[in-house]
Symmetry: C2
Subunit: 190 residues, 2 copies
């Protein structure tokens, strides 16, 4: 009997560094698979269908919405983004663990559709720290940073809906904790 895989959903405030943590984790644990999103936006230079995204037509995407084929989806400006359930389910059936990086709203949609997932919240050491990270990106205006910070204060309280919290004050330590959570969950008695 093959063990079923586990879905690990990684979320947290924007700018918290969850993308970097996931990338490092995947380098350390090659037996964990990253969930690939679908989108209707056109591919950018260097992006590959089936690696970076599944690039779909609007008609195909809406067809999948109507068939409940997404664990979550959202419309951002004029494009759809979503997590196809089939990719995740196929891997879980094969006994592979799947890592899914997503914003807080998306994570909450997934929790409704797939409550057996393991939900991990990445938290900045403090709101101040997050502010300096957003500034560091150098591509946001002060007004946009202020708006995002107030969203963030709300977002930081959302950890309560998650199974685990990792405070990202040291990247290496955060990756070590994420790895520990994956190893521990594999030992859990269901």
């Amino acid at each position: 009997m093959t063990r079923k895989g586990i879905l690990f959903v990684i979320s947290g405030p924007s700018g918290v560094g969850k993308g970097t943590i996931c990338k490092r984790l995947l380098a350390k644990m090659p037996d964990v698979y990253l969930s690939i999103s679908a989108t209707t936006r056109p591919p950018r230079s260097g992006e590959l269908h089936g690696r970076d995204y599944y690039f779909l037509s609007r008609a195909d995407f809406e067809h999948m919405i109507n068939n409940n084929e997404f664990l979550e989806y959202a419309k951002v400006y004029n494009n759809y983004y979503g997590t196809p359930a089939a990719f995740v389910q196929d891997h879980l059936e094969k006994g592979n663990d799947v890592l899914l990086e997503i914003d807080i709203q998306g994570a909450m949609q997934i929790k409704k559709n797939f409550p057996e997932g393991v939900f991990i919240f990445i938290q900045p050491p403090s709101v101040d720290d997050l502010e300096s990270r957003l500034n560091l990106r150098g591509k946001d205006s002060p007004e946009s940073i202020q708006k995002r910070l107030s969203t963030c204060k709300w977002e930081m309280d959302q950890y309560i809906h998650y199974d685990y919290v990792i405070v990202n004050d040291d990247l290496q330590e955060a990756v070590r904790l994420l790895e520990a959570i994956i190893l521990a969950e594999r030992c859990r008695v269901k």
Copy 2:
């Protein structure tokens, strides 16, 4: 606000190697404290009160039983053995995690008295493997081994009452998994 410590209860069939796993874990994680048992048996050469055991008189031990001062206790032949609650509680209050190695019966008593503990079951790769381990000790008769094996088959099914199972087919890997469970539990949202 100091975080409260976590009690990790390590149990499993006799001969499975849980003592060795705990020893190695403590060497890797000096911020985890090993629970010290109390007993009425006399100290053996080299054993120290407060390090190896709390060596108590029968009257003191029975007084503590009557005051519900044990997380669990048992009478083996003519001596008492027990886990004083105060040692564990004091450390947890200070925010220290405590490791407690105990047989299956003892673990189930602790679960009744302290359900907020994290219960970890160490499992041999197979009953055959356990048999060879018991033989390797070289100090048990074939009859005694047979009797212990049939107990063991029952014991191996008891994992169902635990939070985690670690299969001990490789000592280093088993220690790594125990460490992962401790790190992960520290990240859990209560």
